[in-house]
Structure formats: structure tokens, C-alpha cells
């Protein structure tokens, strides 16, 4: 027996199991697919959060603007009432004199 020839025969390449390449490819595609879906979900969540945040901010600003307008209107009316009262007082003083 030529020992090294026997060793070479014993260590000859073996065929990989049937479907080996397909199993590797399926392990590659699955994480990629999942990754893609995960990224899409994250992107959708960001868009929805940003939209809701923008809408809320817009509503808060609008609400404050209306409140400020209302307060300015009330202050103007108060000022007009005061001015009107002063005018009446002055008018009466002028008539009496």
C-alpha cells in the first residue's frame, strides 16, 4: 500500500449535500428581506411621527395666534370703553361750564 496515495483517496473532496447552495441563498435572502421590511417600517414610523408632530405644532401655533388676537381685541375694546368714558366725563364738564 502506498500510504500517501491511500491518504489522498481518503481525503478526496466530497460532494456538498444536495440543495446546499439553495440553503445558503435562502439564508441570505431572508435577512435581506427582513432588513428591507424593517427599514420600511422605520421610515413609515418616522414619516407618521413627523406628520403628527407637524400637525400638532401647527395646531398649537394657530391656537396661540387666535388667543393672542382675542386678547388684543379685548384689550382694544377695554381701551375704547375707557376712552369713551373719559370722553363722556369731559363732555359733561364742558356742557356744565
Amino acid at each position: 500500500m502506498n500510504f500517501e496515495d491511500e491518504l489522498q483517496r481518503a481525503l478526496a473532496r466530497k460532494s456538498a449535500p444536495d440543495g446546499f447552495a439553495d440553503r445558503v441563498l435562502s439564508r441570505i435572502e431572508t435577512p435581506r428581506h427582513q432588513k428591507s421590511w424593517t427599514l420600511r417600517r422605520i421610515a413609515a414610523a418616522i414619516v407618521i411621527t413627523a406628520s403628527l408632530g407637524g400637525l400638532t405644532a401647527h395646531q398649537i401655533i394657530e391656537h396661540r395666534r387666535i388667543e393672542e388676537g382675542e386678547r388684543a381685541r379685548r384689550e382694544l375694546m377695554t381701551a375704547l370703553h375707557i376712552a369713551s368714558a373719559k370722553m363722556r366725563v369731559a363732555q359733561r364738564a364742558v356742557v356744565h361750564d
Binding site: A10, R13, K14, A16
Partner: protein, 181 residues
């Protein structure tokens, strides 16, 4: 000894470039081209079909992640041999592989003779008793047909260390198989 699968050979890198560009069919072709080599290295090291396939799959998944770093088909072959060898070493360090006891080995050796049709199988079993580095060196030499300097490059060890592993491994196998020089 004739080289069964030399380190360097005429290259057709088209599949490699297409696979690196994300072509799954091309990567599938690369797997099919090299799967026997990778699986066989793991099989001869572990002597366990399921774990050999597991390691081989992991090697190709690692290849997929690092395809951009592979420059040529020759580089790919070198890379696959090296990564498979490293994963086999890692596996042996985890201690998950089955150790063939001295008694089992002696039983097999006693049964072996020149006309035994199971001789090659018994030699494969004897190989499991060798230390990991010797086993890998002998696998690279007799499965892949690499020269000692090529084995040194793949296993990242000095030439003299490779020669020492080969010599000691062969001596041990001869002794266990009852073969005289």
C-alpha cells in the same frame, strides 16, 4: 503527489464581479463552484456531516458579506480555504467535535489491511485523532493538493511549522494504521 486543486488556476472572474454587484444568480454559481471544497475541508476536519454543512454555510454567508474585498477567483479560493480552516479551528476550540478515543482508533486500526475496502474510511477516522493544526495541514496537503508553502499561506504559519505538522501527522497516522515506512 499531483495537485488535486492548485492554489492558482486560470481565472474567470465574471461571476465574482457580478456577485459583488448583488447578482444572486452569480453568487449561487460561485457557491456551486466552491461548495465541495469548503464542505470537504469541514467534513474531513469534523467528520460530522451536519456540522460540516453548518460551517460551510457560515463560510459562504461570511463571503457574501465580504464579497467586495475579493479581488479574483484565485483570491476567492485562497480566502475560502483560509476562512474554512479558521472556522474549523474555532469549532475545535469550542469542543463540540467528537473525539475518537484511543481504544476506538486502535479497534479500527486492527481491522485495517491492504485489501480492506474500508481503508480510506478508516484513514479518515484516524485523522480525527490528530491535533487540529496537523489535521488541517494534512487536509490541505492531500485534499487540496497544496504545497507546504501554500499551506503556510492559507493557515498563516511558517513553512517549517507546516512541514513539522505534516511530518508528525503522517508519522502518527502510519503508526495508528500499522503502516511501516
Amino acid at each position: 503527489m499531483s495537485a488535486a486543486a492548485p492554489l492558482l488556476f486560470p481565472t474567470n472572474d465574471a461571476n465574482l464581479h457580478r456577485a459583488a454587484d448583488g447578482d444572486h444568480d452569480a453568487f449561487g454559481a460561485l457557491i456551486r463552484e466552491h461548495q465541495d471544497m469548503v464542505f470537504s475541508i469541514a467534513w474531513h476536519f469534523l467528520h460530522d456531516r451536519d456540522r460540516a454543512e453548518e460551517i460551510a454555510q457560515e463560510v459562504f454567508l461570511q463571503l457574501y458579506r465580504g464579497l467586495g474585498e475579493i479581488e479574483s477567483n484565485a483570491h476567492l479560493t485562497f480566502w475560502l480555504r483560509r476562512v474554512t480552516a479558521n472556522r474549523c479551528i474555532d469549532e475545535s476550540r469550542r469542543g463540540r467535535w467528537r473525539i475518537v478515543t484511543l481504544d476506538e482508533a486502535n479497534d479500527v486500526a486492527r481491522d485495517a489491511d491492504d485489501t480492506d475496502p474500508l481503508l480510506t474510511r478508516k484513514l479518515g477516522q484516524m485523522l480525527q485523532r490528530l491535533p487540529a493544526q496537523q489535521r488541517l495541514a494534512i487536509t490541505m496537503r492531500y485534499q487540496e493538493g497544496l504545497e507546504p508553502f501554500e499551506i503556510g499561506a492559507v493557515l498563516d504559519m511558517p513553512l517549517n511549522t507546516v512541514k513539522s505538522h505534516l511530518r508528525r501527522g503522517l508519522e502518527a497516522l502510519r503508526e495508528w494504521m500499522g503502516v511501516k515506512r
